[in-house]
């Protein structure tokens, strides 16, 4: 056994981060080294005074054991040259703050790391800034908000966004901080069931909504002309209570197209973040469908055997990630021809995975939120989650209660900020500055 300490292997270090590139001549290192030892070598080679942590990958899988153990496990010889790719390591995300709401949070969206939009079960939409102030609360929906989406922010003062609710309407809002006023631009009517998800196209020219009535509707952004006959219909159909509450006159808007195809409820729609013409949707019929927006047709269907909840598309990796009712995150390649090809499955959650979000910085990383009360950060090169963020880490007293974990309904990841919201009525904000490897990050305002 004493001999194993002397085993040495030839390795070659490569990286895609040019600023950290070292010579690619093979070198001999002790096989007992783990991540930390290898990181020391790289720091030594680069001559950094302040050591930077690095992570190492062999064959696109993160090294989590010693080199020797890895070689033994994968049955490789110690005599060949091993090519090790390294990236700047990430520190675990730090919980920055959490903002209390009045009710469950169903949807969160970040804008440019500074403004957070939340939709809540108390029928209100709120905008928060990074210092934890609720800038504005938008009242107008009659049922819990299920989804929110930014349209634009002008000069940090004028916000435009959409909110979709269980009351089967979508509202567009515009608010200005300066005058502390907001108006509801228009109300979109057409769905017959709760609207679960809205997605704005990359060009901000139109948006799509997915509903429990199993249809996807497309809407334009233009503010419609008011017409009287809309109001006429409304008086006839709506039950008395709703009419009483509504005082202000709202412009009504109708969809430009309805796309049917899903059998059963739709849980999530998302636009391709580069292509205005591509829309992805996931539903309770266990399918992920790819739509051609222009021709309003269902281009492709990908089936699995579990209900799809949240989906997310990353333009960087070109993959769709989906959260399922069997606690698994599946990754799909929309370009593949086959009907059901799951590229990868990630499993670690202990309950339904309700939402997923790709990192905007890194093509390998995504965040997922689940009913087991945890948010997990994944690198698809490693089968196990990189980090698990549990709410209970914050206050230890709660752990003893042995409660059922608080469900998480939504996560969002933009640049260096991860948001999550759920049953515990709190918007949790995590800083992930050290995650990912772009050097050009600007100093956050946090």
């Amino acid at each position: 056994m004493e001999t194993s300490q002397e085993i040495q292997v030839q390795v070659r270090f490569v990286t895609k981060q040019t600023e950290y590139a070292v010579t690619d001549t093979p070198m001999i290192v002790p096989a007992k080294l783990k991540r930390y030892g290898l990181s020391e070598i790289i720091n030594h080679l680069l001559g950094f005074e302040k050591p930077l942590p690095f992570d190492f990958m062999i064959d696109n899988l993160f090294l989590r054991t010693s080199l020797l153990e890895y070689l033994e496990n994968s049955g490789l010889s110690t005599e060949n040259i091993i090519t090790i790719e390294y990236v700047e390591s990430m520190l675990p995300p730090t919980p920055l703050s959490s903002f209390q709401h009045d009710d469950w949070i169903s949807s969160v969206k970040i804008f440019n790391q500074r403004y957070f939009l939340t939709g809540s079960y108390d029928n209100h939409v709120r905008i928060w800034n990074t210092s934890g102030e609720c800038l504005q609360t938008f009242i107008g929906h009659n049922a819990p908000i299920k989804s929110v989406s930014w349209i634009s922010v002008k000069d940090d003062e004028e916000f435009t966004f959409l909110s979709a609710s269980q009351d089967r309407t979508i509202r567009a809002w515009r608010s200005s901080l300066e005058h502390n006023k907001y108006i509801s631009l228009y109300e979109c009517i057409g769905h017959k069931g709760s609207i679960e998800s809205i997605a704005v196209s990359p060009s901000c020219s139109e948006f799509a909504s997915g509903s429990w009535d199993s249809s996807i509707m497309l809407w334009t952004m233009e503010i419609p002309e008011n017409s009287d006959d809309d109001e006429h219909i409304k008086i006839q159909t709506s039950s008395k209570r709703r009419k009483v509450i509504k005082k202000e006159k709202i412009l009504t808007k109708y969809p430009i197209a309805t796309m049917n195809g899903h059998i059963g409820a739709i849980s999530s729609v998302v636009f391709d973040d580069k292509d205005n013409n591509k829309l992805y949707s996931g539903g309770w019929d266990h399918s992920i469908r790819i739509w051609d927006v222009e021709s309003r047709t269902n281009v492709d269907v990908k089936n699995c055997d579990k209900v799809v909840y949240g989906i997310s598309y990353s333009g960087k990796s070109g993959l769709i990630a989906s959260g399922h009712s069997d606690r698994i995150i599946r990754l799909w390649d929309p370009r593949a021809e086959d009907v059901a090809v799951v590229k990868l499955t990630l499993s670690s959650h202990k309950n339904w995975v309700t939402s997923v979000s790709w990192s905007t910085k890194n093509s390998f990383m995504l965040v997922s939120g689940s009913y087991d009360g945890t948010v997990k950060i994944w690198d698809i090169r490693s089968r196990t989650p990189l980090y698990t963020l549990s709410k209970q880490n914050g206050d230890k007293g709660k752990e003893n209660e042995n409660d059922t974990p608080k469900k998480i309904f939504c996560v969002d990841w933009d640049q260096d900020i991860i948001l999550s919201g759920g049953e515990d009525n709190q918007l949790h904000i995590y800083g992930s500055k050290k995650i990912g490897f772009t050097k050009s990050e600007e100093e956050g305002k946090l």
Binding site: S106, Y121, G193, S194, W212, R241, K306, S325, T404
Partner: protein
């Protein structure tokens, strides 16, 4: 005897004198002389006769008397001289040789001549009696000679000519014994030697015996038991020390290998007695039995069932809990789209839940315990019915349905108020409009029953127009069928038999299932007749469900049994499943998938794969696939009260006495 008789004759002929005296009547009375029985002449009365009988006379040796006479007086011993007197007497008396001792009287008696004659004749070896003639001529009373003439003239009876029945029976007995092998013909008895040598020297093997178990053989000696083992077998000092320290029972070997230079140095074996003793103990005390191995493959005993893994999907784990009720949740129902759930509880509320998030969307306060809720099965109508005390209500949950649907539902439900006819002979129910307050909450309609018994179950017909309400205690009005669009109520059965437990409409045909305590009766509503009676053979039916194809029925009972009926097959259960440890509360089929489930007071839900084939010849396949435990707590010995499958997904929702509702996926 002859002599005595002679004397008696003499008595008769004796003459005596006659005397007369004056009698009481003044006439002379003859005084007859006393009769002398003349006993003194009888030899037997000469001496007092000893009446002690034939006993050993030594018993009286110590007494002065030798016995008792007939009057009970002691007979004294005759005076007896000593031996000398006896001798002198013998000498003097010339007749002494002729006397013999009479044992009874303890004295010598002189023998008479006749007696002497008898003695003499016996001594000569001739007959004791003088007159006996041994050679009397023979008189042939019975002879072997056939008579010429028969003694009587009766003809020969019939039985002499027919074979004997009794002989035949005895022969048959033997024949039967031969056939059965009890008597083996031609088997010569092997003569066993009368004596044999018990201690014979030759150690013959014992006779083959079915229960004979040979004693185990002794272990053969090892290499290290040699007197001169190779050096590697010898123990080192350290090993020896270890061996010494070890408990004798734990030692691997009970000896230490020893080395001797030559055989003559080997000492006597010092554990010989001990080993023999142990060997004897082993043979004598160790019980040995012969084990008969059954040559059956255990695999072949297990019925061939597919692996549950191949039968997915089915619910496997607890996902969500719907908390909010403050008392036991009796009933749940899922809307046809599978998005919403309603639950009725003992806390007198109905709650509406969003299934995937566990959000309680709305709560209705009802005046009494809610026993049953049921969504309308058609998608066009967004409403559900509930039952509390003797009322059935219809609620439109306005929060979750589209305005158009809400309007059409409202019209669908309340249209009947306009077309009301009052020509019913017996008023069974009252269709009532709710108050404005209730109307605001979405309650559209109340059906107040005239009986005041609690309605325990409401169930829809598949078309969403008719529904049935059940009040088990209401006697003949226990089952009523209501038509929602026309606001009409009918009583399908004039008389109900037994206590109604549960009813169901057939999903396709116009059949109606009524479960009473012991039986399930199937009625045809069109022809108004009893089609079939199912006999589950259970003591108390709790629940009933009909397969969506309509040919199979499951019945759950309070005595823990679940029965599957194939209606085409028989009136008895196709299969009875006995898996729960407590009463079954509800049984339910999945609407689309081949699944069914039962929930019980033991706090568990059991999921079964129940595949029904289109091929009529193939029996349904029933496989238990999953037991869902550790969800509901048992409160007051009540566990899971109700369960229902999601209409689309392979999920099941259960409600319990612990105030919670759980979703299992």
């Amino acid at each position: 005897m002859k002599i005595i008789k002679l004397y008696q004759n003499q008595i008769i002929f004796r003459e005596t004198k006659t005397h007369y005296v004056v009698g009481v009547n003044g006439k002379p009375r003859k005084i007859l002389p006393e009769i002398d029985p003349v006993y003194d002449s009888d030899s037997s009365t000469e001496n007092p006769i000893n009446s002690v009988g034939n006993i050993p006379m030594e018993w009286y040796d110590d007494y002065p008397h030798i016995g008792y006479d007939i009057d009970g007086k002691k007979i004294m011993k005759p005076a007896k001289g000593d031996e000398l007197d006896k001798f002198l007497e013998n000498m003097e008396d010339p007749d002494s040789w002729m006397s013999a001792k009479d044992n009874l009287l303890q004295q010598n008696v002189k023998l008479t001549d006749e007696e002497l004659e008898i003695i003499r004749r016996i001594q000569m070896g001739s007959f004791p009696e003088k007159d006996f003639d041994p050679y009397e001529p023979t008189i042939e009373w019975f002879t072997g000679k056939p008579e010429v003439m028969p003694l009587n003239a009766t003809p020969e009876p019939k039985r002499r000519f027919i074979p004997s029945k009794w002989e035949a029976k005895r022969i048959m007995k033997i024949v039967r014994a031969i056939r059965q092998g009890r008597i083996v013909l031609g088997k010569s008895q092997v003569q066993k030697p009368r004596f044999y040598n018990l201690w014979s020297e030759d150690d013959k093997s014992r006779e083959e015996h079915p229960m004979h178990i040979p004693a185990p053989k002794m272990k053969l000696p090892d290499h290290d038991e040699s007197y001169n083992p190779p050096a590697e077998y010898l123990l080192t000092d350290k090993e020896k020390e270890e061996w010494e320290e070890m408990d004798p029972d734990d030692r691997e070997k009970n000896y230490i290998p020893q080395k001797y230079s030559c055989l003559r140095n080997v000492p006597a074996y010092n554990r010989f007695i001990q080993e023999r003793f142990n060997r004897c103990l082993d043979l004598y005390l160790a019980p040995r039995i012969r084990k008969n191995k059954l040559n059956i493959d255990p695999e072949s005993l297990i019925p061939k069932l597919p692996n549950p893994k191949d039968l997915q999907p089915f619910p496997t784990s607890l996902t969500l809990s719907y908390d909010g009720h403050t008392d036991r949740v009796r009933c749940i129902s899922i809307d046809p789209t599978g998005l919403w759930l309603i639950s009725g509880s003992d806390d007198k509320t109905i709650r509406l839940w969003e299934i995937i998030t566990g959000r309680c969307v709305k709560t209705w306060e009802i005046e009494d315990i809610v026993y049953s809720v049921a969504w309308c099965p058609i998608r066009e109508v967004c409403a559900f019915i509930f039952s509390c005390s003797n009322k059935v209500g219809v609620i439109l949950p306005t929060d979750i349905c589209d305005d158009e649907v809400a309007l059409s539902t409202s019209q669908y439900v309340t249209n009947g108020f306009n077309s009301k006819r009052n020509d019913e002979k017996v008023k069974l129910v009252e269709w009532m409009k709710p108050s404005d307050e209730q109307n605001k909450n979405g309650i559209l309609l109340f059906i107040q029953h005239t009986h005041d018994k609690t309605i325990k179950q409401v169930t829809w017909h598949r078309k969403g127009d008719y529904f049935s309400s059940i009040a088990p205690d209401a006697g003949n009005q226990g089952i009523l069928i209501h038509q929602l669009t026309k606001h009409q109520t009918q009583q399908p059965f004039r008389k109900t038999r037994g206590i109604i437990q549960c009813v169901r409409f057939h999903p396709i045909k116009p059949l109606f299932f009524v479960a009473t305590q012991r039986y399930v009766r199937v009625y045809n509503l069109m022809k108004q007749e009893l089609t079939k009676t199912l006999q589950p053979g259970v003591k108390w039916i709790s629940s009933l469900d009909v397969h969506p194809m309509g040919d199979n029925v499951i019945v759950g009972s309070y005595d823990k049994k679940l029965c599957w009926f194939d209606l085409d097959l028989s009136q008895r259960p196709y299969r009875t499943l006995y898996y729960h440890s407590k009463a079954i509360r509800n049984v339910v089929y999945h609407k689309r998938l081949p699944l069914f489930a039962s929930c019980s007071d033991d706090g568990s839900i059991q999921i079964f794969h129940g595949m029904v084939y289109n091929d009529l010849l193939q029996n349904p396949l029933i496989v238990p696939v999953k037991i869902l435990k550790a969800g509901h707590q048992i409160v007051d010995s009540l566990g899971v009260l109700n369960c229902e499958f999601h209409p689309i997904q392979p999920w099941i929702i259960s409600s319990g006495a612990d105030h919670t509702i759980k979703l299992w996926t």
